[in-house]
Symmetry: C2
Subunit: 392 residues, 2 copies
């Protein structure tokens, strides 16, 4: 084969889409640390610290708090596949792509799935969940905290209380909220929770932190059949991360280095400060984007600070705008998914990228492109409105 | 939380166990490259080159040749879960831990599994496979190429021919052989094959390259039920890696950077040279270790050059020797698994670590420790015998 493969080279992108977000240089450096063995005493110590930091981040005391060896979607599957068996009843809230994906996952476990849905861009109505829970004994109630396809941040307290009252396990997807939005796993009474590393944690996509409380772990222990996935079988994986250190699969060493370093950075910043930062930068972006004359898909009270959906104005070519942002400004924003395909842009201000510079730069670049494409707007006014948020 | 988490620090280990192996500095550097989006045109180009290089490495023209987003064990599960449905009959060869793991995986798919076994340290007898194939219509015949728990390298030609004659899909685990042992996916008629990155490829554990030929892809296309794993459903994943680029899950960007760079290094060395290097260094190690008075578990004709099982002499404390190697010399070797637990050490000379320096250093260190522990041997003689292999 005569073909020559050149040295890896990529452009310096500002990643303001739905993830991945830009990774902190310290995390990149940690990734470049020489690999050691997955049973090396030094690595076992790194695993312990990583679990501690994950518990701190999830705000939980759950012993079973570990990173699964795959991306966020593996975390979703791990939660369903360990919890549900064929014939189990599950109630799943669907108001976007990731709620739909949960349904697909649960059905592949052979579960009988009912759904409570809401229009994309709206939150789930707890009253409808309460009605559904009253009609059948469900093993599991599942909901997405921050729907990455719509930008809705779902209030969790009511749903958690309803599940608890019925003895139903409460499962929450926090892929786009963990580390950027308020989340209290123990405080809110979440039984099962999963996330990903590449959004508000600003760690490369590769791991899926999950946490199961004792009630959820007991449900796994009481299964009739083996978990249908060997790779995701927590009854075995917990023994590797626990005191026994029984080999299951070779841990992704470098990814865990990255996770530990990313968590260490979050720990240094402090969770409250970080969440406040996400809130402020999102508010500035919302103010600026509305000053451009654009509309936001989600009502303010249900908007996730990590991910904003901006309505594409009539007559404007979705793909052309995103291409111009990428090619002229090295800025990535996301297109719509599912029901919102072609209707919104998805803008992530997550982790490292939740920063005033991201806000100002995107408003300036987007405003300029829109003007050129015939949508009259004032980037200067947008910057001014965004700036006011920081002055308050 | 007052606890302080220190900067990541690990010792410089020489990884001569069953994997991971030491990673080339160029691969570590590639891992530290800034992350870009999983739908960025630059990343799509990286994906294309990675697939080309994987096809080159597997010696195949299979279109469906991609890295799965998890470690080698996910590769195993991906192959079984896409191929087998409830009620399908599978014949699995078992002569070690990874053959057993294949049985577990196939059973979790609801398959009816029969096995052909051999004692640990012995290859599978093709005659027994032929008899079993004659008794039932099997959808799948599965075998491990290099059994990481025993160090046996299984000849594949006869098994492949038998499967082909019966119209049975032939699945091979090449986790510990790909890139270090002769392997011809198309030439040998392998229908389905998976591997890992952390052994002979010297890339951090994180991805599982898989390849399916058209016959195998057609079997997936003809399934009655959905694949029970959403995360591993190749009917969807193939659309992301194919021309359509349909989003499935966020690709592990940094891991794919690492894979591409590792494959580029292998491509520069050339596959034949690399395999010859693995053969020579293994032969030198075998000569040296026998000169120490130690016995090898596997007969020479079935020994994998990538992984050697060394019998632990009577009276010698397995764990104490491994601990001394790690603490005094920074050398990791593996303990035995399953039937061979406490009976062998597992020594990997894989990828970067298949080098004369690894051979000499391990012989010197191991010889010294054994002498100290009361097993009289001559490290000098071992080094001399190993050296002779290089002079030939």
């Amino acid at each position: 084969m005569a073909k020559e493969y050149k040295e890896l080279q990529v452009s310096s992108r500002l990643l303001l889409g739905p993830g991945p977000s830009n990774v902190h240089p310290r995390v990149l450096k940690a990734m470049a640390t020489p690999v050691i063995g997955h049973l090396d005493p030094e690595f076992l110590h790194i695993m312990n610290e990583t679990m501690e930091l994950l518990r701190w981040l999830f705000r939980t005391k759950n012993q079973l708090t570990i990173p699964m060896s795959g991306t966020g979607s593996l975390g979703m599957e791990t939660c369903f596949v360990n919890t549900l068996e064929a014939g189990d009843a599950a109630l799943i809230c669907v108001n976007g792509v990731f709620g739909q994906r949960m349904v697909d996952n649960a059905q592949r476990c052979g579960a009988r799935v009912d759904t409570v849905s809401a229009p994309w861009g709206e939150p789930i109505d707890p009253g409808r969940v309460e009605k559904a829970l009253a009609q059948k004994d469900y093993k599991l109630l599942a909901v997405v905290h921050a729907e990455t396809s719509t930008g809705v941040l779902q209030p969790l307290e009511d749903l958690s209380r309803m599940a608890r009252e019925r003895g139903t396990l409460f499962l929450v997807d926090t892929v786009t909220s963990l580390g950027g939005c308020p989340l209290e796993v123990d405080g809110t009474g979440i039984d099962i929770c999963y996330s990903g590393t590449q959004k508000c944690l600003s760690i490369p996509p590769s791991l899926a932190p999950v946490t199961f409380n004792e009630k959820a772990a007991a449900a796994i222990g009481g299964r009739k059949a083996k978990v249908q996935s060997w790779y995701q079988d927590l009854s075995m994986i917990a023994s590797y991360w626990g005191k026994e250190r029984v080999y299951h699969h070779t841990a992704p060493i470098s990814s865990i280095y990255a996770l530990r370093e990313g968590l260490r950075i979050i720990h240094e910043e402090g969770l409250e400060a970080r969440i406040e930062r996400h809130r402020t930068n999102a508010a500035a972006f919302w103010a600026g984007v509305e000053a451009l004359g654009l509309k936001l898909q989600v009502r303010e009270e249900f908007r996730a600070p990590s991910l904003t959906t901006v309505r594409i104005p009539g007559g404007i070519d979705d793909a052309a705008v995103r291409k111009a942002l990428l090619m002229e400004h090295n800025i990535e924003v996301g297109g719509g998914l599912g029901d919102l395909k072609g209707k919104v842009w998805r803008v992530g201000l997550m982790g490292e990228n939740s920063h005033a510079n991201s806000v100002f730069l995107l408003l300036a670049a987007l405003g300029g492109i829109l003007n050129r494409m015939g949508f009259a707007c004032s980037p200067g006014e947008a910057l001014e409105e965004a700036g006011k948020v920081y002055q308050n």
